[in-house]
Amino acid sequence: MSAVLSARGLTKRYGKQVAVDGIDFEIPAGRIVGLIGPNGSGKTTTLKAALGLIPFEGELSVLGFDPRTQRDELMQDVCFIADVAILPRWLRVRDAIDFVAGVHPRFDRSKAERYIANTKLTPTMKVKQMSKGMIVQLHLALVMAIDARLLVLDEPTLGLDIIYRKSFYQNLLEDYFDEDKTIVITTHQVEEVEHILTDLLFIRDGKIALSATMEEIGERYVEVMVSADKVAAASALQPIDQRTVFGKSVMLFDARRAGGLSREQLTALGEVRNPSVADLFVATMKGTYA
């Protein structure tokens, strides 16, 4: 099976509002995909559809299952963290491990215990006694010990401080990810995930605005610090975004725009570098809130 997740004409309406508007995409195995978009763009709706949490129109296949009708089978191989701090308040660390070990055939108990041993969590602690960061540590310990083929993380670090956020992604990469697994992440904090992503999926107003691997992005988008005397020439090449840093113009070019642009052309304009995903995101989403 090539695609872990494939959507064709995926559509979700809430009343008259179209949250996801007939999107197509494919996510192959062994990728870490960032599903990135502004608030209300349809990211969470897309993920909820893929996890069989909401009904939808169109075709969607997750690990070969239809999430609408085969959710019970699907959940054997999929895990997700929908949001931080959703563990029930009365749950104890010990009971949480026992429970997941009891119901999940792919749960590796020793792995979860090893992970928890590195935190301040104690077996008798209840979720309501934990800080937000500790709740995430527990949730992560549970989820990372599950050998799922697809892991979906929807804003996994929302509301966490920087130390927890850093270690969250580090653990994800070091202890969890391998070539058989696929991870889909949505987040607002693009700059924190860009170094771990292999693929980008920008979503805007319920449509895919950009779908590319990170290598493609690197080849295609180029940021140029244009020297003052070449601004006019640079503008003629139709940058997709332009801003000013310390009096210097920074322009973003799509090398694959109509007509095409070569690196040489751009190098001639000034210092060339790869844009950050955040800058690319802002450029792509220009006018979203206008």
């Binding site: 996890l51 959940m75 929908a82 949001d83 959703i86 563990l87 029930p88 429970f99």
Partner: protein, 349 residues
């Protein structure tokens, strides 16, 4: 290696599918076991501490009363029917009758526990499929390979089986402690009932009689549990208002209509029928003994020598002859199925 595999494949294939079906069935059972355990973790207070507290209170108050009786009274006061009986060294016949009442009815002392049960289970069912949507923890449960059917089923089992069994167990234990205290207190007051009570078979059979009410209780409680779980699964907020307010308001409107119309014509919307047959079953089914509303009470009045458990059981189970009970229970099951279906597409909020 290669030949080995090809050789073993065909013979393995049928057993493979068989064991897969088996393992699916057994995961269903283990999942249920864990889900029930989960319910008890969450509701330890309601299902264990509340009955235990009532039981301790009963022992303290009633047991304390017995002790007080030993210390302060030379006589033993006893309410029997309408007669207040003060007993000092009682005649033999009287003693035998007293022993008979005690041995057959001692479980009645735990009655308050059986009033706690419906309250606890009522609110448990109401919150069962709603609270985890409100605090969004439903998303955690939905991230695990658990079917909606198993989740709802675990709650039904807890409401209809686990909670009553806990209360029955606590009730029997409490009654036995109080019986022991009472017997000792009475003995110290020269009314020694220990031997006649201990040699009465009904002393030992009473817990079994109590237990044999459980299937009947489940049948009567099904419509209420079904209704509450359905509302709990469906409502976006204010579950209590929907579950209790809606039927009561509908009933009130129909009753008002019937009341007004009865003045002018024989037209009726059947408010009385709706109240007795639908609303009462929907909301009151958790009360142990609700079925006595449908039996001929004259049979009950005649029990002079304590509770006749056999007769009581007989009368109670005779209510199953009425098709309405079965229709209501079937409706309860249908509502539980409805709760499962609604749960399928419910997430937070």
């Amino acid at each position: 290696m290669n030949t080995n595999m090809t050789a073993s494949l065909p013979s393995n294939a049928p057993t493979g599918t068989g064991s897969r079906a088996n393992s699916l069935a057994s995961t269903g059972m283990t999942n249920l076991k864990w889900l029930i355990r989960r319910e008890l973790w969450e509701h330890k207070g309601a299902f264990f501490w509340a009955p235990l507290a009532v039981s301790v209170a009963l022992v303290l108050v009633l047991g304390g009363g017995f002790l007080y009786g030993i210390m302060h009274a030379g006589s033993f006061h006893f309410q029997m029917g309408e007669h207040q009986v003060a007993v000092h060294g009682v005649p033999h016949a009287m003693r035998a009758r007293l022993a008979s009442v005690v041995a057959s009815s001692y479980l009645a002392v735990a009655a308050p526990l059986f009033l706690v049960l419906p309250v606890v289970v009522f609110f448990y069912c109401l919150a069962a499929l709603y609270d985890d949507r409100r605090d969004r923890s439903i998303l955690f449960w939905k991230s695990l390979p658990l079917s909606d059917r198993d989740i709802v089923l675990s709650k039904v089992i807890v409401a209809l089986l686990v909670a009553p069994l806990v209360v029955i167990g606590t009730g029997v234990a409490t009654s036995l402690v109080l019986l022991a205290l009472g017997l000792v207190a009475a003995a110290l007051n020269d009314i020694n009932l220990i031997v006649p009570v201990l040699s009465d078979m009904r002393l030992y059979l009473s817990p079994l009689y109590l237990l044999s009410f459980l299937p009947l209780y489940i049948i009567w409680a099904l419509p209420t549990v079904g209704w509450l779980l359905l509302v709990s699964s469906w409502a976006k907020s204010k579950v209590f208002l929907w579950a209790v307010g809606m039927p009561v308001v509908i009933l009130a409107i129909l009753s008002w209509f019937d009341f007004l119309m009865s003045r002018f014509s024989g037209v009726s919307l059947g408010a009385k029928w709706l109240g007795n047959e639908v609303v009462a079953r929907m909301l009151g089914g958790l009360f142990p003994g609700i079925w006595f509303g449908e039996v001929d009470k004259s049979a009950l009045v005649q029990m002079q020598n304590g509770l006749d458990a056999g007769l009581l059981l007989n009368i109670s189970y005779s209510t199953l002859a009425s098709p309405a009970v079965w229709i209501a229970a079937a409706a309860g099951c249908a509502m539980i199925a409805g709760a499962v279906r609604l749960r399928r597409w419910r997430d937070e909020g």
